[in-house]
């Protein structure tokens, strides 16, 4: 008998969803004898259609990284925070410590507990937990990411880029990308751009740097950082001056024709004129505004059949009130924003600005698309076709991460609207659950009374204020949230201000807290501004020896710089080891043609003792007896996270849960339906994704598409089915300005913030220099410093990835060749980069692909020595550097008035962290200075339970056990 051959390796393929970035592609994980052999894109997945990026392909190295945390850790008694001295404890101990502490806080003052999370994709659950706990101090990372993008567009068109909408490149002819990091919506955007270019589309990139997507643009338009608003306003100027706007679209689908009260001394100044019309029940935005009809030369209710409004001019109502159409005000606003003016601000030649504006206008007008799709608008008018003006835009943090970003993005949304491209073929298109009313209906409480011991928060921790009465402030107008979100300082901070939590808590302004729980965010390093000082704050003690932030809990799968400061570390799993949902309640992965959500299903067992954060929340929730997580008798309600996902409903019997697919007892329903015990299995069988394709007639013009809006209402995606008119003129902003000017019946800002609110809450977009630039001697610090995110790295996550770090082991500061030569800096020289807040030593690299007034580097490549379980001499800490050290998280509240204290270095409207406002100077290091990046920090040692760092690794799946 022949000897039996070695058993063939057991191979299997499991579907799940990627999490190497926030893109959430469908992946297939190939296992060999239980080890990950290959991860490829799932060809059946609507999002990525089988492709996968560099990060997704490197998931193996993340799974088996020595930076993995494998057991709960407690800071050793006596060890300082930040040095990384830990001892392992059991989960039971960890839960006991946490539960005891949190129970005490909840019973006394729930706001002393703060929960802030990184780009976690589980905000629906973390938000629910925080609300149930009763603390207002909850937010995800939006404030330090792109809240300006979300807020600027949602307050204008009821939708935004990325998860909630995007450019319809499939039908577009001209694509303008402005200020886009290369990673956002990365694979779908790459697929689309490539197809767009192959179909002969014209691609213009406006960016200080030509990298990534910009590289393949047909035209690169270099621009000075923070001046995009000036450019966009000049485009608007040209479009209006030449008559290249889509009048019909504006009249019907925006508030351009609505009459605004322009009686300066009137309390109603700046508000739309309204008339008495029979109000529908539970109406959000009554259709009671006025047009001035061209035929009858009289005011009429908007959209009255047979009327057509003046867009220009000034009129007087019968009572003598002077009124102007919103469009007239816009035209007046942009009158002086000429291309010549913009040239001086942006550095882009006026002729280029003119030409680009014309290209947009003429393409939108002359290459119209007519799709034979019949639909009915909100006013009952039936249309035989859907029209598209094939000019599309995409923008992200390059616009958002400036202190003037909100108004810039308002300008962009208005430009897109003038061109008639909103939710139309070839233009911008929404993704379910957007569009939403402007602003969306969610509100925070507006009083500290909403916080009650042992009670859930009476309202949401995050919301969308529509007027000053929605602000979350106390009677003196002081902030209720630790990050001062929804206060008069940052009224529309719809994603919170995570970037100021540590500083505020350390200073005790507005108050001190007890426990800060950070999930998956590197707040001691690349996710914080002013990292040097923030690290000190985390370690700072009161005179009584107690830490200023008494208890720090960090949950992460990896040893980040932040974990070193934790008192308690909760080891999370990787994405391959857990259940997860990309929920409709959160940020789903919907497509233009309909809602889509997805799940992760574990493909390998968790490493060591690590535990998904969701399980931790449900466990603590049950132990704390938070109402949602327990039965009436106080017993635990959900076995585990998968059980929670299946059975949780937003309200008993609501039929709305985290997942929208395969609902109902047998999985026969979607969007709404009873819990389905087999929901996970059905997702598993269907590539882990649920996608519903809307009828064609519901796929376009959704702001005003009766069919769609009613579908959306029936499926409880929205409460209202009213048309969502584009806010060319923002009455919401005007309400805040009026309050600051002492008008109206709403709450008024404190004295010292009146000027600020009145200045920035302009109902029409305007350009102002960024706050930091206003507070900087620009002769001393002449250069703008920005970061770009490399496509092969996601934030700080991937320096522990053996493959990806070979691509980006350290970073350089890229300097325009001429700029560098003038400064006497050669290619590769060590230099100091200095802002008024700090300085960093790094290496310079010449580049012809950067605007001369800008220097830039890849984001988050630099690391603190020893962190992420890299060796202390690793490139990341010795040659790599972090630009964050140059950026302050706060600015003096007033440039000209001392003593007003500090305000967040962020957008005065939304609290968006102004990462890209910093001004620097560069100079060569002195003779004898070491060739090592500065600042340096104490080396962090590996933690208990981390696997050994291999010095040679021959990875071969199934042989390395």
């Amino acid at each position: 008998m022949p000897a039996s051959p070695a058993p063939a390796p057991v191979t299997e393929i499991k579907n799940t969803t990627c999490y190497m970035c926030a893109c959430r592609c469908g992946i297939r994980v190939h296992l060999r004898d239980g080890q990950v052999r290959f991860i490829d894109g799932n060809p059946n997945h609507p999002l990525n259609k089988g492709v996968i990026c560099a990060k997704g392909s490197s998931g193996i190295m993340k799974q088996y990284s020595p930076a993995r945390l494998t057991q709960p850790l407690r800071r050793k008694p006596g060890a300082d925070r930040g040095v990384g001295e830990f001892e392992p404890i059991s989960w039971e101990e960890a839960f006991t410590i946490l539960t005891e502490r949190l129970a005490k806080i909840r019973a006394t003052d729930p706001k002393k507990f703060a929960l802030f999370t990184g780009r976690d994709q589980m905000q629906a659950l973390t938000g629910l937990f925080a609300r149930q706990f009763g603390t207002p101090n909850y937010a995800a990372h939006g404030g330090l990411c792109s809240v300006n993008m979300a807020a600027g567009m949602i307050y204008t068109i009821g939708g935004s880029f990325w998860e909630f909408g995007g450019p319809d490149l499939d039908r577009s002819k001209l694509f303008v990308m402005i200020g886009t990091a290369e990673d956002h919506h990365s694979n779908p955007l790459k697929i689309a751009i490539s197809k767009f270019k192959r179909d002969g589309g014209r691609f213009i990139s406006i960016n200080p740097v030509r990298s990534g997507y910009s590289a393949i643009a047909d035209e690169w338009v270099p621009i000075r950082p923070g001046t995009d608003g000036a450019l966009l306003l000049a485009f608007i100027h040209e479009i209006i001056a030449l008559g290249l706007y889509d009048r019909e679209f504006l009249v019907r689908y925006s508030n351009a024709g609505q009459l605004v009260n322009v009686a300066a001394d009137c309390d109603e100044f700046g508000m739309f004129l309204r008339t008495e019309v029979p109000e529908e029940e539970a109406c959000y935005d009554p259709q009671n505004k006025l047009w001035w009809d061209r035929a009858t030369n009289k005011p009429v209710v908007t959209h009255t059949q047979g009327t057509d409004p003046f867009l220009r001019g000034e009129f007087k109502l019968k009572d003598g009130t002077p009124v102007k159409p919103a469009f007239q005000l816009l035209q007046e606003r942009v009158k002086n924003y000429t291309p010549e003016w913009a040239e001086g601000v942006t550095g882009i030649p006026a002729a280029t600005i003119r030409r680009l504006a014309r290209e947009m206008g003429v393409t939108a007008r002359d290459q119209k698309i007519e799709l034979p799709i019949a639909w009915t608008d909100s006013w009952g008018v039936e249309h035989d076709t859907v029209t598209g003006n094939p000019v599309s835009f995409h923008a992200m943090r390059g616009l958002a991460a400036h202190s003037n970003g909100f108004q810039t993005i308002r300008a962009l949304a208005i430009l897109m609207s003038l061109l008639g491209t909103i939710d139309r073929p070839g233009g911008f298109r929404h993704k379910v659950p957007f569009p939403r009313p402007i602003p969306p209906c969610a509100r925070t409480p507006n009083t500290p009374l909403a916080i009650k011991p042992n009670h859930p928060l009476d309202g949401l921790a995050l919301g969308w204020p529509s007027d000053p009465d929605d602000l979350f402030v106390d009677e003196q107008g002081k902030p209720v949230r630790i990050d001062k979100g929804f206060s008069w300082e940052y009224p529309l901070s719809v994603h919170g201000l995570m970037q100021n939590v540590i500083t505020n808590a350390w200073r005790g302004d507005p108050y001190t807290i007890d426990t800060l729980l950070i999930f998956m965010s590197n707040m001691a390093w690349n996710s914080t501004m002013n990292a040097v000082e923030v690290r000190k704050m985390l370690n700072d003690k009161n005179e009584d020896g107690e830490y200023k932030i008494p208890f720090l809990v960090v949950c992460d799968a990896f040893q980040s710089e932040m974990t070193a400061f934790a008192d308690l570390i909760l080891p999370d799993t990787t994405y391959l080891e857990r259940h997860d949902v990309m929920s409709m309640l959160d940020r789903p992965i919907s497509e233009f043609d309909g809602p889509m959500d997805a799940v992760r299903i574990p493909v390998v067992p968790p490493l060591g003792d690590c535990k998904p954060f969701q399980e931790v929340l449900i466990e603590i929730g049950a132990r704390l007896k938070l109402p949602v997580f327990v039965n009436k008798d106080g017993t635990r309600k959900y076995r585990d996270y998968p059980d929670f996902i299946v059975n949780y409903e937003t309200e008993p019997g609501s039929g709305i849960g985290f997942l929208s697919g395969w609902r109902g007892k047998g999985g026969e329903k979607f969007m709404r339906g009873e819990p389905n015990p087999s929901q996970w299995e059905m997702y598993a069988k269907n590539d882990c994704v649920f996608h519903y394709e809307l009828p064609k007639s519901y796929q376009y013009m959704r702001n005003w598409n009766q069919g769609y809006l009613e579908w959306s209402q029936r499926n409880r995606i929205t409460r209202y089915a009213e048309p969502i008119l584009i806010h060319i003129y923002s009455e919401v902003l005007q309400k805040f300005r009026s309050a600051a000017e002492g008008k109206g019946l709403t709450r008024k800002p404190p004295e010292h913030l009146k000027k600020r609110v009145a200045t920035y809450f302009d109902p029409l977009p305007f350009y102002y220099e960024t706050l930091e630039a206003q507070a900087t001697d620009k002769h001393k610090y002449p250069l703008c410093a920005v970061t770009q995110r490399p496509m092969a790295m996601y934030h700080s996550w991937d320096s522990q990835n053996a493959w990806l770090r070979q691509i980006h082991a350290h970073n350089y500061l890229y300097v325009n060749t001429q700029t560098a030569r003038v400064a006497g800096i050669d290619d590769g020289d060590w230099i100091w980069v200095e802002s008024q807040w700090g300085k960093v030593k790094c290496m310079a690299k010449h580049s012809e692909a950067v605007e001369p007034g800008t220097v830039w580097t890849w984001n988050a490549i630099g690391k603190a020595a020893g962190s992420w379980n890299l060796t202390p001499d690793a490139n990341e800490s010795q040659k790599g550097f972090l630009l964050n050290h140059l950026i302050s998280e706060e600015l003096p509240a007033s440039v000209d008035q001392a003593g007003l204290g500090m305000l967040s270095n962020s957008d005065p409207i939304t609290g968006q962290a102004a990462w890209y406002d910093v001004r620097v100077r560069i100079y060569k290091v002195g003779a004898g200075e070491t060739a090592q990046t500065a600042p340096q920090f104490d080396v962090v040692k590996p933690y208990p339970g981390q696997s050994e760092r291999k010095s040679v690794w021959n990875y071969f799946a199934g042989k390395n056990k």
Binding site: Q806, I807, H808, A809, H810, Y812, K845, H846, S847, E848, A849, N875
Partner: protein, 327 residues
């Protein structure tokens, strides 16, 4: 190219071994025609062959250090139809075998006369073996030289001067060693070998300088423009795609400055050619101290190592166009 010491030792050591054998056999041939005095088979030819073999074995050992998988070295003899390296792998042991037989025959004075020339000169076994080995020695020089000279895009090497240099420089070092050897074993041959050593060294100098001049005038055939296929006068690499180095950066770059290269050039011109010639000249006078001759050989050998280092370093591989920057 990155000069690998295994290859530097291989080529210089076997060059000496081949040259020494050529010197020995030249002396025997001269003696055959009575142009030089007969030497003792045992003390001179056998010991000389052993010395030559020692250098050849040293070279062979060095070559194994160049291989990733030396245990499979036997496979490298299979592709002689196309590969000069394979041919070298065949010729080197064949030559060593013949030198061994040559020495063995001399050692045991096993010199049966196999033929007699019309002039009455007897062709014995050692002459026959020596002639075959003599041919193999040249074949080996050609193989070694052609390994480099056949690579058409390594333009510094792609020249008949490469082969000529391998012959002349190896020959020169062998004859210099023969001079030293003669000073010990056959003092009456010192002038003969010293004379030839000087002549070959000077010829080597001429051909090496010729190749330096040729290489200095080379214009690169490949440019960044042809490397990536973009026609623009100004192209600069920003990143080669990785930062911690790779085979491409380790194997094809010498990692030294141009000034370092220049100084090595002058060093080898002096030490491989000028200094040995001056020292050998003392041998011509017939009163030379063995130590000076030994010094001549040592200096020349070290000079040839420098020459070989420079030979590799100077070769600019077109792949280097793709590996100019990290970022």
């Amino acid at each position: 190219m990155h000069p690998a010491f295994s290859v530097i030792f291989l080529t210089t050591l076997i060059g000496v071994g081949q040259g020494l054998f050529l010197a020995l056999f030249t002396a025997q041939t001269y003696a055959l025609f009575d142009l030089l005095p007969q030497q003792d088979s045992h003390a001179f030819y056998a010991h000389g062959s052993i010395l030559a073999l020692l250098f050849l074995i040293g070279g062979l050992i060095a070559s194994f250090f160049h291989l990733g998988r030396p245990e499979r070295a036997w496979r490298s003899a299979t592709q002689w139809r196309t590969s000069w390296l394979s041919r070298e792998v065949i010729v080197l042991p064949a030559f060593m075998g013949m030198v061994f037989l040559y020495g063995l025959a001399h050692f045991f004075e096993c010199k049966p006369v196999l033929a007699t020339l019309p002039s009455g000169i007897a062709i014995d076994l050692t002459v026959v073996i020596g002639t075959i080995a003599w041919l193999l020695a040249f074949a080996l020089y050609v193989c070694t030289g052609m390994i480099y000279a056949c690579l058409r895009f390594l333009r510094e090497w792609y020249s008949s001067l490469t082969v000529i240099n391998y012959i002349l420089l190896g020959g020169a070092s062998g004859f210099t060693l023969a001079t030293v050897f003669a000073a010990v074993a056959a003092p009456e041959l010192v002038r003969f070998f010293a004379g030839w050593a000087i002549i070959i060294t000077l010829l080597g100098l001429v051909s090496r300088v010729a190749s330096l001049i040729r290489n200095a005038r080379l214009k690169p055939k490949s440019t960044l423009q042809t490397a990536i296929g973009i026609k623009h006068p100004k192209i600069v690499q920003k990143t080669q795609g990785f930062m911690g180095g790779s085979f491409n950066t380790r194997e094809f770059f010498h990692g030294r400055s141009a000034a370092f290269l220049r100084s090595i050039k002058w060093i080898f011109l002096l030490t491989a050619f000028v200094v040995p010639v001056l020292l050998l000249a003392t041998g011509l006078s017939g009163v030379a101290a063995t130590e000076l001759l030994l010094l001549a050989f040592v200096v020349q050998y070290l000079g040839l190592m420098a020459e070989r280092w420079f030979f590799f370093a100077q070769a600019n591989h077109p792949q280097n166009l793709y590996y100019q920057a990290i970022g």
